[in-house]
Subunit: 569 residues, 2 copies
């Protein structure tokens, strides 16, 4: 069973709400004294004469597991109170009724409900009872999901939050109940949403069904882990987002193109709790490029708003907006809520000129030919490209698994520029390699190699790299480079870095030539496997038990490079 | 391989940054024209005379995969520019240098760097080159991680964000470079962080090492997936958080107890990208209860700030604060950045009196005994408790997997109140059961059963439930209840709900008694397995291919209940 950060699963929701209330700071949130059955969070300032009671209360809620919805949106300009059930279970009628009685004053109350049978029943009965008790009540049911064609009861998804925001802003501004309810109904009638995920929802204390296979996604799944209407192997994000945007556009009333809005829409990008923020930004990029995205006047998110525990997915909501709705969506609300704000979009100049030409452009040098050097470079880069996956796998044991990709990327760049390199001039070649690696490789290996070749290139004669028979000038140059790496990188021999292969190889090269250098690099690399304490590089953060028997990936790459060079001279 | 929402992995970071810039809206963010090698996001307003250049620039960055860090924090009051590398790889020297040249004016620039070899090298070399080009540069290296004892090079974690915020606020206020850098160094020297996770970091296009076994957590792991210093089976969250808070307290300089601050600290709770927001709130609850939490003057988060793709974990950062730091941390910054704001904590009255007594308290009735009824209730509740896991498993195939737990919870509540029930008075008993189920059970089943018993209790005589021989009055009562369920729930027979077992059972009960009712319930439940379209309940959102052959869990529960009742009369 997946591990969760919880205590007693039975106390999960009350503890989470206590965390929310305590973390909000004094004077902001309170709760009704009804745990565990009644879990109602409300504005702590609602009884102040200048803040509440004479205004319309806006109440919402539903099952837990969707945080920050709904309690995270309680605050001035948003919800007055939120009622929470247990995870993915509607709150009881009593709980909803308690919330309504606690916050409804003369101005009345708008109850916003997501269209699930349980919520509709519990909130509906509570609203009837509150009305019977003499309160002015309006109720809006939101069913914004478009996943299931022709369903009589579309689900409520993250589009509900647009209803909250519009109603909350109007209520805060002092609008009367019929106005607040009317605007809320207009949003509920117009908003459409569609979700997608590559995982289900893991609930603490419950065994989840593992129906997702690696690489697959479900389109149109629900926020409680209900299976999607379509399962497929996930392709390019842009294709998926295009499909979703097109489906939303088709589903908008009149294509969202009616009225004075001229086709303007607000888009809300909701992440489902476990989507990497990096991926969410790619979705934004692709979404804004769609025809629907081009019509976006406002964007809300990406943000985790209506989550499904830690589901790795997102939903997109779309709504045609006019000026009144845009004002309400842009209106200030309590900054300490989870509301991410809406941003007005529009064309703008996004590019700034690079302040300096890149080194690649500045460092133009004359190409020259040396077939031996070409052979060495071809062999070394080829060997590093071949070793990409093996080096990644090695690095995954002690680091972030990218050593192979980093070296291979550098090798590919060098290969791609081979015909433009000054192969016959060692100093110029090394300087150019320094520039190439410094600008293209990235990572610590990149700059260390850039330093290596920069320092090596500034040493000695302009002799050929590959001149067989006298390796001393090359050894001198590489020794100067290795020395610079030690100075800037802070590591030395025995610290479990690529220096453990490089330094012995350079020493061996001077007297024994390429074959001796390769042998020394190999034995130096192998020796790192028994060094249980790394003192530099990312492996320095890894415990000795993980390092035992694992050769340092950087040293291994150096050994591979020297072996390839020796074979092809 | 895990599915990710990306296009070409090689274009991942530029696309994400374009999403950030485009989604921020006009006039806010821009980038240097250097893709793909140079990925620098900067304030679009920085060249306006009233906004930039005459102020200190604050620049930071590092590998991607940690979004919103760092580009998400570019804006007035925070960062002037952010430099991004590829995922988990430091940006190149050229990229950093380009950023420095692009934003540094007469007032100079503070460069904030996380303490990783690659970042230190690349940012350090770039700072040296910028200085050589005549710019006023200061650099602060942040190493806030306390996971690895006695390491010479602690890693930079989310504590870095406190450096950004303090430096950004001071720079925005017009403070000179030495003041900004001094405050940044003070924060860097004082902040301590510790992370924990139950998963590694999945990188698009790369095979991740699956070293986490179900239920295990790693304490002290890095934000690039570096293994933690300790692996263990995850226990209660409060114990873990206690340990982390104690370790942070020990690691704070002078226990954070020095100076005029009187022991006040700021706590930053950073989620790593894939932690369910519900769980994050439990962590807040537990964190505020620790001795360190009791000293918290400010809280930032929980929020995804320095993530590790979609890692399911969090880090806690702690820093002793005085008034100057608190002011800088509370200062306004651009609302459209990812900065969640800091909240001042303090004791406050968090409870509000329930506006009405709960029904449980209001509905006190006199207990009475009827051994036959007791036997039936004991048998039915026992059978539902026994069936909890089986019903959950059934529900997991078509819904959210909680039917068994919902019914079992209700059964346990009824059992626990058995001695207080009016067993000899059917109407009173049904009314009481309605109250109990309505307040304790939750979910749609809860309110439907509450409606069922409320309506059943308002019908006919006060006869015994268990009076053998004449089942007509009981059948009449249950029929009235089932009718109310149909009316309020909107479902009928054949809609694949518990009514498909309940309605035939009630009809059979009148003439055939309990055994016939049990048989009818069973065959009614079984028949739901061949209904491929649910028209009510959560299964209505599920495609027919998922429903085929799966009995409706609610109908199954009804069949189990009637079977148990028949056996024990």
């Amino acid at each position: 069973m997946t591990a969760h950060f919880v205590n007693d699963p039975a106390a999960l929701v009350p503890e989470a709400l206590d965390g929310l209330i305590g973390g909000a700071g004094p004077g902001r949130l309170a709760r009704l004294d009804g745990y565990p059955d009644i879990k109602v969070v409300l504005r702590a300032d609602w009884d102040r004469a200048d803040q509440g009671r004479d205004r319309v209360a806006v109440v919402s809620g539903g099952g837990a597991g969707h945080e920050p919805a709904h309690a995270g949106f309680v605050g001035p300009g948003l919800l007055t109170a939120a009622v929470s059930g247990e995870v993915f279970a509607s709150p009881s009628v009593d709980a909803v009724l308690a919330a309504l009685l606690a916050v409804t004053g003369e101005a009345g109350c708008l109850l916003v409900v997501k269209n699930y049978t349980g919520d509709r029943l519990n909130f509906g009965l509570a609203a009837e009872r509150a009305r019977a008790a003499g309160l002015r009540m309006e109720m809006v049911v939101v069913g914004d999901d478009i996943a299931i064609p022709d369903t009589p009861a579309p689900r409520g998804l993250a589009g509900t939050l647009l209803v909250h925001k519009v109603a909350g802003a109007l209520a805060q501004s002092g609008a009367p109940l019929d106005h607040v309810a009317g605007a809320a109904r207009r949003v509920a009638a117009g908003v459409r949403s569609l979700g997608i995920s590559t995982s289900g929802a893991d609930i603490p204390g419950r065994r989840s069904e593992q129906r997702f296979v690696d690489g697959s996604a479900e389109l149109g799944l629900g926020i409680h882990g209900e299976p999607g209407v379509e399962t497929f192997a996930l392709g390019r994000d842009a294709e998926i987002v295009d499909r979703m945007a097109a489906a939303l556009t088709d589903a908008l009333p009149d294509g969202g193109d009616s009225g004075a809005a001229g086709g303007d829409v607000v888009l809300l990008l909701n992440t489902l709790g476990g989507l990497a923020p990096l991926e969410a930004l790619v979705v934004v990029c692709d979404l804004l490029a769609t025809p629907l995205g081009q019509r976006a006047r406002l964007l809300i998110g990406p943000a985790a708003l209506m989550t499904s525990m830690s589901m790795r997915g997102f939903s997109v909501s779309a709504l045609a907006v006019d000026d009144e709705l845009a004002r309400a969506l842009l209106a200030n609300c309590a900054a300490w809520t989870a509301w991410p704000g809406a941003r007005e979009l529009g064309s703008h100049d996004r590019l700034r000129v690079l302040p300096v030409p890149t080194l690649r452009e500045a460092g133009k040098v004359l190409a020259s030919e040396d077939t031996a050097v070409r052979a060495v470079l071809t062999a070394v880069t080829g060997a590093l490209i071949d070793a990409e996956q093996a080096l990644n796998a090695l690095d995954a044991k002690v680091g972030d698994g990218d050593t192979g990709s980093t070296f291979a990327a550098a090798a590919r760049r060098v290969l791609s520029e081979l015909d433009a390199l000054p192969l016959a001039d060692r100093s110029a070649l090394f300087a150019r390699l320094s520039e190439l690696l410094g600008s293209a490789m990235g990572g610590s290996s990149g700059v260390l190699l850039s330093i290596l070749f920069a320092a090596a290139g500034s040493v000695g004669s302009a002799g050929s790299v590959g001149s067989a028979g006298d390796d001393a000038p090359l050894a001198d140059a590489l020794a100067a480079g290795a020395d610079a790496v030690q100075r800037h990188g802070g590591a030395g021999e025995g610290d479990r870095t690529m220096l453990d292969a490089l330094l012995p190889a350079v020493r061996a090269l001077r007297d024994g030539g390429a074959a001796a250098a390769a042998a020394a690099a190999r034995s130096g690399a192998d020796a790192t496997g028994s060094m249980e304490q790394a003192r530099a590089g990312r492996a320095a953060y890894v415990g000795g038990q993980h390092l035992r028997g694992v050769v340092d990936p950087g040293a291994e790459a150096v050994a591979i490079a020297f072996a390839a060079a020796a074979t092809h001279r």
